[in-house]
Amino acid sequence: MHDLTQEKLADELGVTRQTILAIEKGKYYPSLDLAFKIARFFGVTIEDVFIDEDAESRKKL
């Protein structure tokens, strides 16, 4: 997608590449500010990038 490396994305968002990797692996939940930046960067909404696991599990019940 976007022919983008983690390094480039990290530079664009002003964070370290390790932070991007930690978010991808679910080891770190970004702040709302960073989540908005990521969504804005890809031109999508936050819900398209991040999943609210609680809401998803409630839907299944």
């Binding site: 490396t5 983690q6 390094e7 932070t19 990797l21 970004p30 702040s31």
Partner: protein
């Protein structure tokens, strides 16, 4: 300033502090080491603010915050417990609240207190480093994937 230049400077300051400590002991001048430690740390803080290729973000800040908080939590319990032990010794001293001063021992052996404080400081440093490693690992500091260099 590059990150590696900062590390080099930190090494030089560290070695200088060891030398000044020795000088301070030789000349029986505690003020020398006190002033030089404060000056050295101030210099390192200033140098760190000049590093241009250091990358910090919210995740690394969170790692530092969490480890500092945990260190403080453990440290105050240990310090409180030890201080209470000291208070018990003080309260149990003969002639409390003001024990009679022995005729030939005018001063409290402050050297022992210094070693004890150094021990507590070392404990704090070890705790901080340990917690930092723990939280760094928890927050994906050493994760790798196919994009790894």
């Amino acid at each position: 300033m590059k990150q590696n230049t900062f590390y080099l400077l930190a090494g030089i300051v560290g070695l200088a502090e060891v030398g000044i400590f020795w000088l301070s002991v030789e000349h029986h001048s505690p003020l020398l080491i006190v002033v030089s430690i404060i000056a050295g740390i101030a210099l390192l803080y200033w140098a760190r603010s000049k590093v241009t290729d250091r990358k910090e973000d919210e995740r690394t800040a969170l790692i530092s915050q969490k480890s500092a908080l945990r260190t403080l939590e453990v440290f105050w319990v240990v310090f409180f417990a030890i201080s209470l032990g000291g208070a018990v010794i003080g309260l149990g001293a003969p002639g409390f609240p003001r024990p009679p001063r022995p005729p030939n021992e005018g001063l409290i052996p402050l050297g022992n207190l210094g070693f004890f404080q150094m021990l507590l400081l070392c404990l704090m440093i070890f705790l901080y480093v340990g917690f930092k490693i723990y939280y760094a690992r928890q927050l994906g500091e050493w994760e790798s994937d196919e994009e790894q260099d």
